[in-house]
Amino acid sequence: MIRPLLAFLSCIAAAAASSAPATTGPAGAPGGPTGKPRRIVSLAPNLTEMLFAIGAGGEVAGVTDFCDYPPEVRHLPKVGGFINPNPEAVLALAPDLVVATPNVGNRPFVEQLMRAGTRVEIVQARNLDEIFPALEALGRATSRESQASVLVRRLKDGLLSAKERVKGLPRPRTLLCIQVEPLVVAGPGSYPHDLLTIAGGISIVPDGSGAYPKLSLEEVVRAAPDVLIQTRMDAPQGLEVSSEASDSLLQWWGRWRSIPAVKAGRVHAVAGDTLLRPGPRLLEGIELLIRLLHGSTVASVQHAGQGRRLEGCR
């Protein structure tokens, strides 16, 4: 059960690490090949997803313990955690490119790699807007500029069409809940919050609460959300979630009958990876939210390569 947390950690840690260096790796570092890398180690699950999305998956030689998408990465060598990659495991793979996202834990390690002459590309992707430059940066680093820009265009088109589809629809007041006991929710400034806004929902989390606040349950009852979306970190892409676990979450919320979402049976337990991990599957995350927020009023659009979704509705 170590993997699933990453989705959440990746958001938190990346958001907490704005002070980390925003530099990119030394171009043409000593000993490092300047051309197309052939052995890439990814130190973040969303970067792993991005590499595969721009067609560089074949060159990925190692990933973190938390990387679980696309499914083929599960067979790749693991180099340790997201906050604490294992330097020996990384170097043992003899990478000619390491891609990393700045976080609280990996800075000394990344600096050490750079001093040792390994080419490191540092890519920041904490929210929706940062995904596109991140994809372009990875495209440049892997000599796949054209694939990256095609993907960026497709994602931006998808965003526009999603906005178009929800235009004029009622905007349900929504709570995106990361976990209960203690209650931690997605607030303004977080990636899930960005997706919720695009999908035509209004977050009930007050401004200034922080990206992932520990919110008062009283405030949730008071704010009376129409829809409640509970992400499940232990239900990553491709893994079955036990319905028992979902049931107990839904039961947990069911105690508060005055919440409109509870009364109307609009509490949804869903796998969290597409909602929590800022990466190339953003349209899937938005699609999931649109379906939960607007139901059958909006025609569903299927995207290629869309994974299985887990959902339990009351």
């Binding site: 947390l5 007050p206 606040p213 520990k214 008062s216 009283e218 405030e219 008071r222 009376a224 947990w252």
Partner: protein, 350 residues
Amino acid sequence: MPLREPAGGGFRPGRLAGICAALLGLLLLVLLAGLSVGAAPVRPWVLLSRASNGEEAARARDILLGLRLPRILLAAVVGAALSAAGVTFKAVLRNPLADPYILGVSGGAALGAILTAAFGAGDGTASAAGLIRSLFAFGGAAGTLLLLFALARASGRISNTSLLLTGAVVNAFFSALILFIITVVDYTRFQSVFFWLVGTIEPSGYGPLAATAACVAGSLLGLVLLSGRLNLLSLGDDEARSLGVEPDSIKKLAIIAASLATASAVSMSGLIGFVGLMVPHATRAVLGSDHRSLLPAAALGGAIFLVAADTAARTLLAPVEMPVGIITAVCGGPFFLYLFQRRRAREMGG
């Protein structure tokens, strides 16, 4: 010696009744205040004023009766348990700095509770799971206390410094084990466990609240019944024996009761520190050191203090909440340092 007056001197049941009535009144006031404030601007008299109907009333009921009331009641129960345990540990170990948190007894209970998660039990809200968790927590608390007790007995009266050092080491050891278990077993609960380690009171259902209250009430009753004999412990073992009391049996009973109180508190709310240090000292400063009045008064005082602290924890940053352990530590840390300095000065001055 922590005693200021001879044991048994000046104890008047009427005075105790008056003190307890006053503290109960204060507790009711604090509970009412706690019920009146929160992230949502809902006041308790809403329930009385209008005929309760409609969505607004249902929301008010959920907030007041579903969330605030069980939470402030739990804070009261936990506060009373920790404070009474603090009084008992000070008497049994004959050390004024003894407290469930500082001694590592809370840490032992926490380790026990976490162990149930490692075995896949004790997780979730089912009452059977809660019972298993409480049992393990009790085992951890009692085990830690027996260890400290053995150390204290080996060296006659354990000194402040060695007691604190032992507590710090025990705490560090247990924290490491707890973090190890989380890392290996269930990383997804890292954040929940973090809040729990800092000490946090969550709105619980009435079922777990009633179970905790029953355990705490039982151990408090036992401690109150023992309180007269706790006085004799402060005289020293030989003196107690000469008065016809076997100190070891008193100590054992007191340890069992105090461990049960600590474990019940910890398995519901994690490691809330310093309540068992501050409240007993404040109570002793006002009422003197006779345990027959000290124990019930400190229990009520602990309830008052923790309800107030938790009300602050839920309202200061509303609608964001912080763990109540932050509040108690911010109050308790400086208090502890002051106390430690004062005692050291006294010991060195002779």
